[in-house]
Amino acid sequence: MKSKIFTFSIILLLLSGKTMACGGSFYMDPSLHYIFHLGYPKSYAHNDYYTDWKVKNDKIFHDENVAFWHKYTGKKVSKEEVEKAIYSGNKPSKKYEFFKYLIDKNDTVALQYWNIVNGDLGSTIRWERSVWYFPTKNEKTPDPSYNDIPYEITFGTIDHCPNHNIRNRYALQLMRMAFAKRDNKLVVEVWDKYGRKIPASALRTQCKSYYAGAVGNRELSTVAFAEIGYFNPLLDYNTNNIKALYKHIPNSKHLELSVENIVNQHFDNCFGYDTTSRKARKQESEAFHKTAEEILADGKSNNPALWKSAQAAFAYIDGDNALALNLIRQADSLKGTKNVKENIRLMRLLFLASDTTTNDSLYENALLPDLQWLVAQIRKDQNTENGFYYDESFWYEEITGFPQHRVKILRRTILKEIISHFEKKGRQERCLAYLDIYSSLCNRGLDKRHKLSLDYGSRFLIYADTTKVENLKKHLALLQSGGESEMDKFLVKNSSKDYNFLNELIGTKYLRTENWDAAIAYLKNVSKKFRKTQNIHYYLTERNPFGEAWITNSRKAKYRKIESPWEKYNDNPTKLQFCQTMKKLKILSHNGKDASARAEARYAYVVGLYQAFFGRCWSLTRYSDSFDPMYDEHFYPNDRKLLSIEKYIDKTIAMTGSGNKELADKLFVMKYALEIDDLAEYYVPLNDWSKYDNYKRQSEKHDAVVNDMETELFADWSKRCGVVANADYVRHTYCDQLADHRPQIRGTQEHTIFMPINGHMFFEI
């Protein structure tokens, strides 16, 4: 027994260390926790957005280029031929019709231009941005130099270029080369001298992207990037940049994204692993509030609700729920875009739910309208083409903006705020009611027959499995009665109303306490159809809890052959059958015809207990095997069960006496099996009873070795067990982790503000 405790304590220590180290067993996307979202796809913050933007601009620039040079030839060279030549990457030669035209015309300006673009330097720049690029030994130095940049030629050509269109293109080439050489000053000079005069076109966008990257002033960069519609470099943002952008373009569409980003950045700074100091966070908030107030007072924004709602978000993140609620109500009365308005409604629900002071009736009355609306919206989203993804299981997909965000807000509202509210009031049955609608809406993605989708993935089940049986019975009663208040009716209407599931849960809870009569009463109500939908179904049907697999460890084929009075269990293996058998055995163990019969019944009973609680038939008492550390923590209290089983064996051994040698041997081995470390992988072959003596010796040796260590650890383990055994504690930890778990890394921004070169793969011609 002590060695088992020793093992448990080691595992517990390891698990607790692991849990602390990684902040819970969940890996979740950063945006899972953001409360401020304006409906743009999350891809705006990732390469997808860059790719979309680039593809769009590549196409525009490509078409514009081809059209320009086609026109340049007086339409004498077809667009196809022009395209073939200019995108060949080759210097002008008569091989290409377009270049042949220029050579025949002796157009030195255009030919020189193409020599530069498709020449060695041009191809070097292109090579460095190509997917084929691999740095040579020399190129590993951070600052590659391009000593052969033909500045003079380019400058001279620009100034004397008779055709302004080609002149502008020369300007682009010079900016491109200067940028590649990190000569930012020259980039800005060329932009100021030539670039600014280029009319709106893809060419201007190209030039401006270099200017934006090279200008060296965050505010100017911000405005420039916003003007060309490239949002990525704006992500590394602060309030000053927003102010600058507002000053130049008060109603830039990028303001919404920038504000969203800055709110979420603040969220990271407060709750992330790399949190900033309290003072820095305070300064951040104050700066934003100040800027927002200035902008609102300025009155040029046609989207004032954006600024007020962002202030509300800041207040909520900073922990001032009352101010957050006040601000969000103000925001609701201001003018705002559709996205901002929806975001306000979502945040209002969340802020209302965070109230822990109001009495339950008022609290629920306040929540009801927005909650009804949100649930209806999610249902509507789920009925669309992408509806399958609007589920907690697909958090990482981020198909579109709002539908995914609605799920996230409902998740935070219920799991974090509403649960906290009712937990504080000791009303766990109410928590169950809210979790029921949440899981039936947002845990649909659990594939019941997939090995990776354990039953334990449902938030409702996580909670239900650790709450007291009375709470589940109350929840069942609420569903059956239909409820009284409006919120009751709403909850009942939107819950799963899965009576099979509830009966199964309640029955299992009674099974765990060996209350066979009560367990049977509930498990009788569970249909075969429902049982088949459970992921544990396979284990229930395949594993016989009265087989002596505890001896053979994993040799299923062998233990099936055992002849025993309980062999017929296999005919209809269910939890109900198990409870009925255990009940009979318990009766037999008291009323058996003689001591030997009673001992045999007790033996079978204890095998059943062991298998169900610690053996291969874990599916009788649990909804997941031990791979989930959270589940393990829930289950540790059952170590007490181990003690009771051992006592039971001792009594049975005493009853058996010397009358039944085989049974006595079995009991001894079983007792030993309970004690040995599972990890030691002792394996006792069936029907090889002669080896028992050997195992007995091993057992003694093993006990002697660990004896000293476990004495010390046992005290520590007891303390820990006392804490971990508290289901409420576990539940709170779980929910809190869900709500406030933050990613370890914010995500590196590959395309930072001064480095568009890494991102640009334009057709730079």
């Binding site: 090579w127 084929w132 691999f134 040579t136 020399n138 027959r449 090995k451 299923k556 793969m761």
Partner: protein, 328 residues
């Protein structure tokens, strides 16, 4: 007594001379080689020992694959799985950069062969390799032959810029023996992947002598110097309950409750209650040696032997003596 000592010494000296001659004969006209087909170059002690023990002179290192990639907008075909060097390359072994190109990618070679050559150069420069030979691996067929051959000609011109006098080699699959040899300096006959691993009825897709035999007749007249590559790897081919191919697993692992149902076939129960099948494919030393003898006999002379591939966890399934015999 003296006579006895003299006799003994004479015999010992003769044995010594014979043994040393034997060693020279073993490696005099053939070169032992091995493929390195992993993403990261980081040899463990056993692998380093393997190189020394078996006198490995050539290592064919997969630099990268060229295949379709949807990630990039401008490039349909891109270099993938680029080799990363984490430990020093052995001084005594010649490194042969090897590039695998898919059949769909080879059709589009004109768009990337210059980049490909430059990339090989950059990688060699970066990794301090001065190659004498570069190998291309492509499962070309009649429909892609022209593209592959044209690629070899064009890429040779490009590579010459970086590595004057470079020699090119190419893998030759058994079915390719029926065709004209590619325009390279040397070929490596791949005596593995001879069967269809996706077929449930295939016994061993890695190497089955029955699959090799029909092609032996082309060897004698094949107009390209050939080395011989032999398989020393194993894998698991998984099939669904309806015996449809589901997965090729390089990690050889048997789940619990696996029941043997055939010579190299196992059945196990999935979590979904259905049965799946696993075919463990491994080529015995006997088969490898038989194949080697057959091919060399058909070819008419001794060939350089290259094993596929350097991986201690797979090579350990053969004894040192067996490995020595493969190379003999």
């Amino acid at each position: 007594m003296v006579r006895k000592i003299i006799t003994t010494l004479t015999l010992a000296a003769a044995a010594l001379v014979m043994a040393s001659c034997g060693g020279k004969v073993e490696y005099a006209d053939t070169v032992n080689g091995i493929y390195y087909w992993r993403g990261v170059y980081d040899l463990d002690n056993k692998e380093q020992e393997f190189l020394k023990q078996n006198n490995i002179r050539k290592m064919y290192m997969r630099f990268f694959d060229v295949e379709e990639c949807n990630y990039y907008v401008t490039e349909k075909y891109a270099p993938m799985y680029t080799l990363e060097l984490r430990s020093k390359l052995p001084d005594s072994v010649e490194i042969i950069p090897t590039v695998f190109i898919t059949t769909s990618a080879i059709k589009d070679y004109e768009n990337y062969y210059q980049h490909l050559a430059r990339r090989i150069y950059a990688m060699c420069d970066s990794y301090d390799i001065t190659p004498k030979e570069i190998q291309f691996d492509c499962d070309w067929t009649t429909s892609t032959r022209e593209s592959f051959f044209a690629f070899l000609k064009d890429v040779r011109t490009e590579l010459e810029q970086y590595f004057p006098g470079i020699r090119l080699s190419s893998t030759i699959r058994l079915h390719q023996l029926q065709q004209t040899p590619p325009p390279v300096d040397e070929g490596v006959l791949m005596c593995y992947n001879t069967g269809d691993f996706k077929d449930f009825n295939t016994k061993n897709s890695i190497l089955d002598i029955k699959d090799v035999k029909p092609y032996l007749k082309y060897l004698k007249s094949y107009d390209l110097p050939l080395s011989l590559a032999l398989p020393t790897y194993d894998w698991i081919v998984e099939f669904d309950s309806d015996k449809k191919f589901s997965y090729l697993n390089n990690w050889v692992y048997f789940p619990a409750d696996t029941v043997r149902v055939g010579e190299n076939l196992w059945r196990y129960n999935n979590y979904d209650g259905n049965s799946s099948y696993m075919r463990h494919e491994r080529v015995s030393a006997k088969t490898i040696l038989e194949t080697k003898d057959l091919v060399q006999k058909a070819y008419g002379k001794k060939m350089n032997i290259i094993l596929y591939h350097l991986n201690s966890s797979q090579l350990k399934k053969y004894t040192n003596d067996e490995i020595e015999d493969f190379y003999l």
